[in-house]
Symmetry: C2
Amino acid sequence: MTDSHRLTEEVRRANERFYRAFESLDIEKMAQVWVQDDTAHVIHPGWTAKYGWEEVRDSWVAIFDNTRYMEFDVTDVHILVVGDLARVTCVENLRSVVGDEQNTGQVQATNLYVQRGEQWLMVHHHGSPIFTS
Amino acid sequence: MTDSHRLTEEVRRANERFYRAFESLDIEKMAQVWVQDDTAHVIHPGWTAKYGWEEVRDSWVAIFDNTRYMEFDVTDVHILVVGDLARVTCVENLRSVVGDEQNTGQVQATNLYVQRGEQWLMVHHHGSPIFTS
């Protein structure tokens, strides 16, 4: 395996860990995949950006509190690694239960991961609604 | 000026160049600020991602063909530089004329720039509609 291939696979696994943490609806699991400092940003579909780990964490808590079930099939995964920062562009095909409502939908995501020691930690998640192909 | 401050200012200028190119509605000016290879991705508000310079370019041509006027006031600019890749999170406060319709609105953006020699070139633009603060 080339170095570039190895790094791409590491980032692919980090991206899978993020979606498994999202499905867990458990803030402690979500916290483990994030950089926990001022550089953490999140943009949920239709929201303005939340800046810094404290705001990012609060946003996940709010989402998890309102969600009873979440399942992702992640497709169209494109990975670019530039030094210690990696970009993942992907489509989230999701099924969720919020309150008593079952939802299915698609979200277009940009995920960024920064290498910290042996780990790739999420530093940015931007999800946006898809209205058209 | 520290090295870190200098790099941040370089990326800030690259981000300003992108919005001036967008306002110009001129595909040649837009082309100058982009990486023109497979790594270029763009996600316009409500769209799925376009992958590679050819698709990215076509998307701008389609937008420019339908837009008579575009003006941005860019706020909430946060810049992170990690080696040769930089992230900008910002809000686009825009006024546009599409067909005979005047629009004002806000778009939440994630912009990524990669350093190529003396230049920071856009490799990723993700804009999403804002429904709530």
